[in-house]
């Protein structure tokens, strides 16, 4: 369901910097449905990839075969990302805070971490250089604390946070995340239960349309069996 909602955020023809996991699933779903001309760029160097299997990693050989361009990573980060050619950056995250800052580095203090997470990878520069940043993450108080333990990716350019119960968007000057849309049958209280700060709601909450049967079929039977 999150993948379907995330896929809707992508417009045909856009250039998307794709992270692994749900973002990857959402991008490939969008490419197979309403956005056939979506240009998928992976930090591994594959541009315009058309994977014939769901890539397990962002360096999967299926991203290379039949892609439009394969370049070194220095070009990916300098000529494409830093040079402002990427429209959408798609990130997941262990922790997302009240202002959309993401932490994928450590739980606990950096020098003596409780849990050592993988770290930035390309997430820091994606959040800084992509014109629009989308986050996909499941709600839980641990995943949505008021403040993250470590800012791996700053929240300035975050436009939407797609969760498993509703959608959050930045609001006001400091870009505090507020609830703007709910999945069918979900109450604001259910979302608040998964968020570590007093969550504000937009006056008239939108309702997230249910996924089309075709999309679910595509997801379950083809993209992510």
């Amino acid at each position: 369901m999150m993948a379907v909602v995330a896929a809707r955020e992508l417009r045909d023809g856009e250039v998307v910097f794709v992270g692994i996991g749900l973002p990857n699933l959402a991008c490939n779903l969008a490419r197979r449905t309403h956005a056939p001309n979506l240009v998928l760029i992976y930090e591994s160097g594959a541009v315009g990839a058309v994977p014939d299997r769901l890539p397990v990693s962002i360096g999967d050989p299926a991203l290379v075969t039949g892609s439009l361009m394969v370049c070194g990573m220095a070009d990916v980060f300098q000529l494409f990302l830093q040079n402002g050619k990427i429209e959408v950056g798609f990130l997941g995250g262990a922790q997302v805070d009240r202002f959309g800052n993401i932490n994928t580095t450590v739980i606990g203090p950096y020098e003596r971490p409780k849990v050592r997470l993988p770290g930035s990878g390309g997430a820091a520069e994606i959040a800084i250089h992509a014109r629009r940043v989308l986050i996909v993450s499941k709600l839980s108080p641990r995943a949505f604390p008021e403040r993250v333990d470590f800012i791996t990716s700053p929240g300035e350019r975050v436009q939407r946070v797609i969760t498993d119960k509703g959608v959050l968007e930045p609001d006001g000057p400091k870009g505090e995340l507020v609830l703007t849309a709910l999945y069918a049958g979900v109450e604001p209280a259910d979302v608040q239960a998964g968020v570590g700060w007093k969550l504000r709601c937009r006056p008239n909450l939108a309702q997230v349309a249910a996924p089309a049967a075709a999309d679910l079929h595509l997801l379950r039977d083809e993209l992510d069996p």
């Binding site: 050989p61 990302l81 050592r116 770290g119 990878g121 800084i128 800012i151």
Partner: protein, 293 residues
Amino acid sequence: MQDAVARFVRDGDTVVIEGFTHLICFAAGHEIIRQRRRDLTLCRLTPDLIYDQMIAAGCARKVVFSWAGNPGVGSLHAFRRAVEGQGGLEIEEYSHFGMVARFAAGAAGLPFWPLRDYVGTDLPRANPRIKAVTCSYTGEALATVPALNPDVTIVHAQRADAQGNTQIWGLLGVQKEAAFASQRVIVVVEELVEERVIRGDPNRTVIPAMIVDAVVVEPWGAHPSYAQGYYDRDNDFYVRWEAISREPAKLESYLDEFVYGVTDRAAYLKKSPGLTTRLEAKAQISAGVNYGF
């Protein structure tokens, strides 16, 4: 491989085994473990399973990296134990762009590289080697990272000639930069080819012989990583690693059987019957282009 590692990889060295998902030279990592190298500073964007194994084997004093996980699967548990607990493994952390920029500076013979990055992140607080420079044209502040110049870089490639002129296709990662930045370079290839094969398509050459110290021929030397056009990534093994690396005892016995327990890559492959047939690449040959005039 035995000779190359014996000659060019020394205790205390800063070692780079690069390759982004593609062409990670596990054969070299295993030989370094067998030869019991110690106090190495291991640098890679993604430590991956290879450095998790080398850390578990006690080769590493320090790891310089930008993303330490098992992609799409989970954690590098040996790495985590060494960092979370009193493992005492030193780390130096950047983002991918930061690591790429460090190699680019090292390869260009520059002491630093400028990049627009880290604004609003906690990374510079965690790593004081990330600094800033002011542009003398616009006055704006840019981030900088210091050059990375390894003692030895090991690059796995599809093919090279006997002199070391090396060609890679598919994902290129930062191999070219890492090799040019390094004091010594070991190239490990799937296939040794005649010089005329290299000369037949010079635009594919990524590393020239003049910077190569040793050429090692090691088919399947990248497994469980992959070599485009030769064999697929062994995703099953990457999944299995989660359980193996989680249990120090299991990891120990894995090393005993598949690293210490074998003398070379050929013996390693014999231990997994059916592996090569399962992962062998199908043919999808590109058309040639005309270099004539």
